[in-house]
Symmetry: C2
Subunit: 78 residues, 2 copies
């Protein structure tokens, strides 16, 4: 079973890196960009049963910082 | 128009951070994890027409390092 876990800042958490990238886009001529958010993803292949629960647990405990980040899990079909 | 750009290492590029996370998962009891890959994503909102071309251009020039990374662009509907 393959899953993709998305990890991204909660609303209201400042992201200076994303702001810097957005500024660079504007100064590089990409002036129509209205907003840019940044996150991480992890593609995980597991042999476990009940693997959705396992992925949820490891996402909360290890892949994300629950104080400032949320995560979303999607199953990958192939 | 909203797009999500995925940036990830090309095949064959070593990713010690992903390896370290995988080891941590194993030592933390998540022993059924067979593989873990890591990447970044960017959610971009643009007001431009022909915006797919623009997003492709900025992904290659600014968001990714084409020597070691690939990118994929997906349109987000909402």
């Amino acid at each position: 079973m393959k899953y993709r876990v998305y990890v991204f800042f909660k609303n209201g958490i400042l992201d200076p890196e994303a702001e810097a990238i957005k500024k660079t886009l504007h100064t590089s001529g990409f002036k129509k960009i209205k907003s840019l958010k940044k996150g991480k993803f992890f593609d995980i292949d597991t042999s476990g049963k009940n693997s959705k629960d396992e992925i949820s647990s490891l996402s909360e405990k290890i892949l994300s910082n629950p104080i400032i980040e949320n995560f979303e899990i999607k199953k990958i079909d192939n």
